[in-house]
Amino acid sequence: MLSAEKKKELEEAIYAFVGKPIGPPFTGRDVVNEPMIRQWCDAMGETSPNYLDAVAAEKSPHGGIVAPPMMLQAWVMQGWEMHEGYDEPKNEEHRLHKLLTDAGYEGVLGTDTEQSFSRYLRLGDAVTADTVIEHISEEKATGAGVGYFITTRATFTDQNGAELGWMTFRVLKFIPNQPQQAASDDDGAAQPAKPARIKPPMGHDNSWWWQACTDGKIQIQRCGGCEKLRHPPRPMCGACGSMEWDAVESSGRGTLHTYTVIHYPQFPGYEFPIIAALVDLEEGVRMMSSISGCDYEKVEIGMPLQGVIHEDEDGFALPIFRPREDSQ
């Protein structure tokens, strides 16, 4: 173990890396191309014609071959030269790791990763990754040993500078309990993230509403001047001009104003078909949502609905409506 003084020195040195890019943005050595897609699909057992069959893909909503979203990082892998990098640091991440390795934190274990994709990549797209050391935890005791969790965040952009997605990757850099012990799967080796629902952009005018969902509530904004309810939230009341507001909790009781059944295109993170719904809440505002627990052929305008907060596996919460039985 390090002396308190040495440890303070080490932590000062490593925390100085937080917020730093690991290096200049790196543009993949090859643009998105069919051979790499085919090899990746072979390796992963992926068989979708959207990735592999130019003729079928042309008829798909993509209009041509696209790359599997999970390949995003593959386009900017830097290749073999980086393999030996930890002894001969080539970027800031390596320098950070080397500091820790030299201080006895020799083990490294991938713990988890999150990814988000903005669009499918098409042939010829050039991917650039800009990777930042986002976070370093305080020292933690884990099953593998004492160490620091290091989170990097890569932001991927295309040839026009438009964002393609992002990935966070977290590793534990640790002093092994028993040197050379291989990490077992139970220790949480990196698993590919399950595709998740599209998240709303959060801003001052809306994030409180989503936060309330996480707290289990369907909220309706109420004007502080004239008490008129309004949804979606906005910063000023169109009726009286007041910028004061609070919120009331909706009962979730409502009726269906109109709906659609979304069959196409199908994208990751959702079960299709989606029954998208506009609900007239009994409090008097209309709210966008979707309907579950009902065969889509049985959905009809005017049907009574009950909204409940649904929480996804990743913790994101939002109101979903179900048919309401107690309709009197």
Binding site: R119, A162, H257, T260, I274
Partner: protein
């Protein structure tokens, strides 16, 4: 001098590239080709252009087009928001610039590889650096509600409920468009008419929209040259007068998702535009012989007919079923095939067809055309024109 915009400017030239699914060249080249063709059609030298107008979403800089064509100076350039709702507003901007003496020759343009590069129909599934997500989107995207077809379907279902309309009523719009496209060699669906059965049997995209309720996605460019009536009089074609040009956004307006109005079976922003068209021009629906009604999705053609006063509210399905919107009917619409049949160039190809109808040079020419109504994107803040003979 008149205080309105009526007859203060004229369209002197129209130009377009071919309409395809894969242009094989950049949007800038498409924009330049279309602009050059429009100037040639007008008989105006590029060096005389001093104004340019486009859509906020168009990726081609006015300045780059000017450099390509050798346009030495621009005294007016402006951009209009709200997707296809901008189409006719670009002509309004051009007409206002000409009417006020700001510019003498203004080109309105739109060019993109909407099919082979960035497809709008795929939906907006997250923010990208070049397209910031407008805050309203956050109330929809988490529910998987991200495509234009789904946004329109929500209105369509309510319209059906309010007015007892059916999918067949929407389908008849598609059938009429494709009938007109079938005899237009420039149309992507040239010689490919469809039947109502084809429409009904086409797969669901977003219920109640079938595939054949949805317009194409296209690569291409269109440009329109606007100048003063005096200047236009001396040019190759007789001037096509801009008799009225209007924009409109209405109460509780959102972009494609104006769902919070008491009644969502209408298009009040188009009603607002229509009122201005009639007021500016002194004309009424009976003075219009043909119309180009924005048709990204068929259901919105019905409330357009109602908002513009071609039929009573809720009566569009009967107006259509009686054959009024086809060639030979009371108000043939989308005689070029529309965006379902000709191409989806964000409404700009519809303006060009309106010009051809007034000139008498359309492939599906309506007889004795004095006035044409052209509308822009529906479900968004929108715009429209009345074009007429000098």
């Amino acid at each position: 001098m008149s205080r309105t915009l009526a007859d203060r400017a004229a369209i002197a030239g129209i130009g377009a590239t071919e309409f395809s699914k894969k242009s094989g060249r950049t949007p800038l080249q498409l924009a330049v080709e279309a602009t050059r063709a429009a100037l040639e059609d007008a008989g105006i030298a590029a060096a005389e252009v001093d104004g340019m107008v486009s859509f906020t979403g168009d990726q081609n800089a006015e300045t780059e087009i000017a450099r390509c064509l050798g346009i030495p100076r621009l005294t007016h350039f402006s951009r209009i928001h709200y997707g296809g709702g901008a189409a006719c507003a670009t002509i309004q901007q051009a007409a206002m610039a000409v009417a006020t003496g700001i510019s003498e020759v203004v080109v309105a343009y739109r060019a993109f590889n909407e099919r082979s590069e960035r497809r709008f129909g795929a939906g907006r599934q997250g923010p990208t650096a070049d397209v910031p997500v407008p805050l309203p989107t956050n109330w929809y995207a988490p529910f998987g509600f991200v495509t234009p077809a789904s946004w329109v379907a929500m209105f369509a279902r309510r319209y059906m409920h309010e007015y007892n309309a059916s999918s067949e009523d929407f389908g008849r719009v598609s059938v009429a468009d494709r009938k007109h496209a079938a005899t237009n060699p420039k149309a992507w669906f040239y010689e490919q008419p469809i039947t109502l059965e084809d429409h009904q049997e086409s797969r669901w995209i977003v219920e109640p929209l079938h595939l054949l309720d949805c317009c194409q996605e296209s690569d291409g460019g269109v440009a329109i040259v606007v100048t003063s009536p005096e200047r236009a009089r001396d040019l190759a074609h007789p001037p096509v007068m801009i008799r009225a040009a209007a924009q409109g956004a209405s109460s509780d307006q959102e972009t494609m998702t104006s769902y919070y109005r008491d009644d969502i079976a209408g298009l009040p922003e188009m009603g607002l535009v229509g009122d201005q068209l009639w007021a500016q021009s002194g004309l009424g629906p009976d003075d219009i012989q043909t119309a180009i009604l924005y048709d990204h999705f068929t259901p919105f053609v019905l409330p357009q007919l109602e908002e513009l006063g071609f039929c009573e509210r809720g009566e569009a399905r009967h107006f259509i079923a009686d054959g009024n919107i086809e060639l030979g009917g009371r108000l043939p619409i989308n005689t070029n095939g529309g965006q379902l049949g000709e191409a989806y160039i964000h409404g700009m190809n519809g303006i060009a067809e309106g010009v051809r109808q007034v000139r008498g040079s359309a492939v599906n020419q309506v007889e004795d055309v004095d006035h044409v109504v052209v509308t822009a994107g529906t479900g968004v803040p929108t715009s429209a024109l009345i074009l007429g003979r000098a």
